[in-house]
Symmetry: D4
Subunit: 175 residues, 8 copies
Amino acid sequence: MSAQDKKALVGIIMGSDSDLPMMAEATKALEKFGIPYELEIMSAHRTPARAHEYATTALGRGLKVMIAAAGAAAHLAGVMAANTTIPVIGVPMGTSSLNGLDALLSTVQMPGGIPVATMAIDKAGATNAAIFAAEILGLSDPAIAKKLVEHKEELAKAVDEKNAKLKAKLAEGKA
Amino acid sequence: MSAQDKKALVGIIMGSDSDLPMMAEATKALEKFGIPYELEIMSAHRTPARAHEYATTALGRGLKVMIAAAGAAAHLAGVMAANTTIPVIGVPMGTSSLNGLDALLSTVQMPGGIPVATMAIDKAGATNAAIFAAEILGLSDPAIAKKLVEHKEELAKAVDEKNAKLKAKLAEGKA
Amino acid sequence: MSAQDKKALVGIIMGSDSDLPMMAEATKALEKFGIPYELEIMSAHRTPARAHEYATTALGRGLKVMIAAAGAAAHLAGVMAANTTIPVIGVPMGTSSLNGLDALLSTVQMPGGIPVATMAIDKAGATNAAIFAAEILGLSDPAIAKKLVEHKEELAKAVDEKNAKLKAKLAEGKA
Amino acid sequence: MSAQDKKALVGIIMGSDSDLPMMAEATKALEKFGIPYELEIMSAHRTPARAHEYATTALGRGLKVMIAAAGAAAHLAGVMAANTTIPVIGVPMGTSSLNGLDALLSTVQMPGGIPVATMAIDKAGATNAAIFAAEILGLSDPAIAKKLVEHKEELAKAVDEKNAKLKAKLAEGKA
Amino acid sequence: MSAQDKKALVGIIMGSDSDLPMMAEATKALEKFGIPYELEIMSAHRTPARAHEYATTALGRGLKVMIAAAGAAAHLAGVMAANTTIPVIGVPMGTSSLNGLDALLSTVQMPGGIPVATMAIDKAGATNAAIFAAEILGLSDPAIAKKLVEHKEELAKAVDEKNAKLKAKLAEGKA
Amino acid sequence: MSAQDKKALVGIIMGSDSDLPMMAEATKALEKFGIPYELEIMSAHRTPARAHEYATTALGRGLKVMIAAAGAAAHLAGVMAANTTIPVIGVPMGTSSLNGLDALLSTVQMPGGIPVATMAIDKAGATNAAIFAAEILGLSDPAIAKKLVEHKEELAKAVDEKNAKLKAKLAEGKA
Amino acid sequence: MSAQDKKALVGIIMGSDSDLPMMAEATKALEKFGIPYELEIMSAHRTPARAHEYATTALGRGLKVMIAAAGAAAHLAGVMAANTTIPVIGVPMGTSSLNGLDALLSTVQMPGGIPVATMAIDKAGATNAAIFAAEILGLSDPAIAKKLVEHKEELAKAVDEKNAKLKAKLAEGKA
Amino acid sequence: MSAQDKKALVGIIMGSDSDLPMMAEATKALEKFGIPYELEIMSAHRTPARAHEYATTALGRGLKVMIAAAGAAAHLAGVMAANTTIPVIGVPMGTSSLNGLDALLSTVQMPGGIPVATMAIDKAGATNAAIFAAEILGLSDPAIAKKLVEHKEELAKAVDEKNAKLKAKLAEGKA
């Protein structure tokens, strides 16, 4: 049974289907952690009613964390945060002419009172949004907490293996 | 009878009362043009329900133009634009550590479909928002249209007078 | 009879024919709203006399709104605004090495007294300039006002359809 | 009994005592939510050993969330995140010549695998870090969850009161 | 007889009288070089007709060089350059919230065909505009050419004297 | 006889042969104006002695204007200006990761006393550097002055022709 | 015997194997100077323990200089500098959406007390890191010092040859 | 005997006496490490001959390291590096309207072949330039090497003391 079959704990929403390739990094990571999620395309500006409804019902529907991705004047995460008390994570998309600086500032510079936990622009941010959601859920779910420790070890191992491969290649070069 | 007594044609909204000194430039300009307005403090993030209500009822209440001022991750104008079909003018406030670059990008970089007419950061933008509202209303109100022509002449005259004063001062200096 | 045959209400001007692919978004949107427009290539710097003439005669020729697109030190919208009292909308083009940050600041940071309603850089801005023109004209033209409401519904519907398609695809993936 | 007497759930760390006035916003907010915290000055660069120790022992000591504030090449939050699996929130300080743009990018642009939940620069970010910590803890603590709902209501009420005061003042002006 | 009494060779224009303290650096430098100048306040946006007239008559009136100072969406130098074939020097004023980055880009990023010789933001730029005008005029005026050589020597001497003073102070400190 | 055969009046120097495609715009423009020039590759940092020699002998060798192109920490124009009293024009190259913002600031932000007349980044700047040199030389050479007037007319004509072509195409589309 | 066989004096470390093509410029330069080096992939965030170990043992293992390359929130050089007293050179990689501005600020804006000698973004920075290491080692190694003088001559010669080639080509063009 | 009496190993140069308050941080640090230095005011642009002479004679006069501070289009460090093979450290001064971003890019973005080791803008950079010079000299001077270790311990101790003071104050607050 995949993570999609269980009741979603994390809601991933994005402003446009063009954000899907980036946000696939988030779904891959959540699946790895075994965290059930739901995926929606909605827009703070184009579907304000649905966005509002999604935010206000999130807590009641059992969502624990929201991940909102948007580009340019990226308001989606802010609109979510304004209408819920569960943690909202924002991922700025670098889709405009300004390479995501606009989306970053629109997401992170929230006024006092309404936090959005902002991640890096694009792919790294999408991955980290999922891991951060796992860190939140891991506080009360030992299985996820354990996977987070393993994930940290894998990250280190992957770098170590690249390093070993480089060393081997350099050694060969000298032989 | 002041402009405040008549049925408001322009709704000026701002995210915080700290924006009032800036936005007073807008009310002064509207009063000069004899355009009735209303003034509200509301926040896309802190009073999302009231903001939503304000936007969706604006057209029905007879508003013709909205002016929305906000700083930092400035979403107020965008939220208005998402929920109405009357023209929304955005004024970025330079209140954060980034001097308004964040508010400018959050206001101007709206996605295709939902325009916000963005003005300059701070005071110049507040003044221009009011004049732009007058330009819109002047299309169907000859009295405002006439005042806009006079306003342009006054602008030129004010510069010319400063120039004359400078010339006089320079001439004195040589006498 | 197409929108081009009727007396133009909106004047779209651009600094170079290289801006045409972007500004085609504006003409498409105006045609959808049934708003007659005219299209001109002119330059604040290379054809200053024609630009001046265009701006000063706009009101008399019956134009209601102007849309001016330019890149780099984008002065075209500002020159228009300095010489007319009808609303001028500026669209910054991201054509220079600085990706449109220069055009954005040159267009939006107008001094108090001479507003330019600035839209997003490039394509989104071109589309939104047309919609904003429709919003202005819709204040006194119920047909346009109605189309604006429909347009908002279509925007939402398009996002909803993308969302449904995504959901279907995800469901298939699990079957 | 104040929040300081109970076993800390949130660790607030900052790179310098000059960050205290900003981070006092975070402690005030945590106290309001009744969340016990601890406060430490440590530096990723000047006390790397203590920083490392703090991060690696955080989970074992019962901390649930970390808030790290730093300016300039702000590495403190990143170092924490590299060495723990509990959620780390970063607050960029605008203390350098570049007004916090450096601290913002150093905090938010984390590589895939190691998330830091970044808040706004300076005061708003400090407040929001605390509220975001409350949102995380509120997922499993109904008392905090309830206070978050009240907090949202208070935010709205505070804006509404400012609005009422403004309205009253405007009305007086006309009387 | 001061430089002001002779027929002006350099026209200094500025968008606002608030630019005078900066541009006084330019007049001081021109007087030092004995170059007659005229000083005008005019605006590309507020007095477009006078600006246009000034530019188109400059050559005929015997002006050899123009210096144009403006802030924000600084179009003044560009408007001059569009309407004359004498060299136009632009000085960006750092008067807006963005500290002159807007004025710099609006002045320097001119399209191919219409050059504006852009100087540094604010005071250094004002001084250098005058010296650059002297360099242009010095090509055909040996007296100015000689003064430019002397000016370079004075610049070096001033630095050398500051250096000597520092050395003396350091020596004292050790005695 | 081409412009290259006569004694050079303009010295074009560039930091690297990779700048040649950009600077060819400058040589084309100078040839059009019939202005003899010389072309050199030299570097403020890699050939400081030759750069110094070139600058200090420029006036004596009969050069009237220098055009210096460089990218990144673009010091070439500044080094020239420090060592000559003839006008130096700087053209920032957008060759680094920062798209020329670094070269622009390194070229334009010269300290008071040592002006560099800065043009736009890349191609537009290269063209304009040549035209600006022509404007300087045209002050004492009526043939060049006349060509500058013709050049302005050609610029306008080229835009007008593009406009006519567009109009024709639009008319066809409707037929 | 290549530089790789001798005991390493310079440690080059990089955050990811995707940085290798850039950092190959550094190894090429070190080999040219005959300076033995070692090459490691490690990450401040993914392998913090190994990074810490590497830094704290560097001096004891005989390393004289470290070169650390990283992108985005580039903390690698800072972590090295925090844990060693040998000179650490940082090379910002332009790998993120922001083209290296983030990595530059994360590397260069170190707090007082912990220096990182920062080089240019990407390739030029990688080359220069190696040359700077040679300049440090050349202070006590006359063979390297001599090679540095030769390197400077070669740099000049390479530019001179490009210049001669250009001149020849231009002369041909006229023949 | 103070550090000033011995033969200078480090040459500190700055573009203007207004940089002295910043660069006093460097002299204080060098004195603490017992490293003899000399201090000169010179300018790449205003005293190019002296700057050139200083750079070319540095090695012969026994200097081991140079520290060059300059603001705006900061070329001083680059000019030094172009004319010497000893390590040159650059400190960008935040003296212009752009807060040092211009000086930072002008200093750090050096072309391949000519490194400048760039430090942070302003005070932190001045301090770190001195410490980095000590790290270079400490490679062959055990007394300096020892002081560097002590300095690192003092840095940590100072932070720890601030931390202890904070803890004490917090404890008092609760008593």
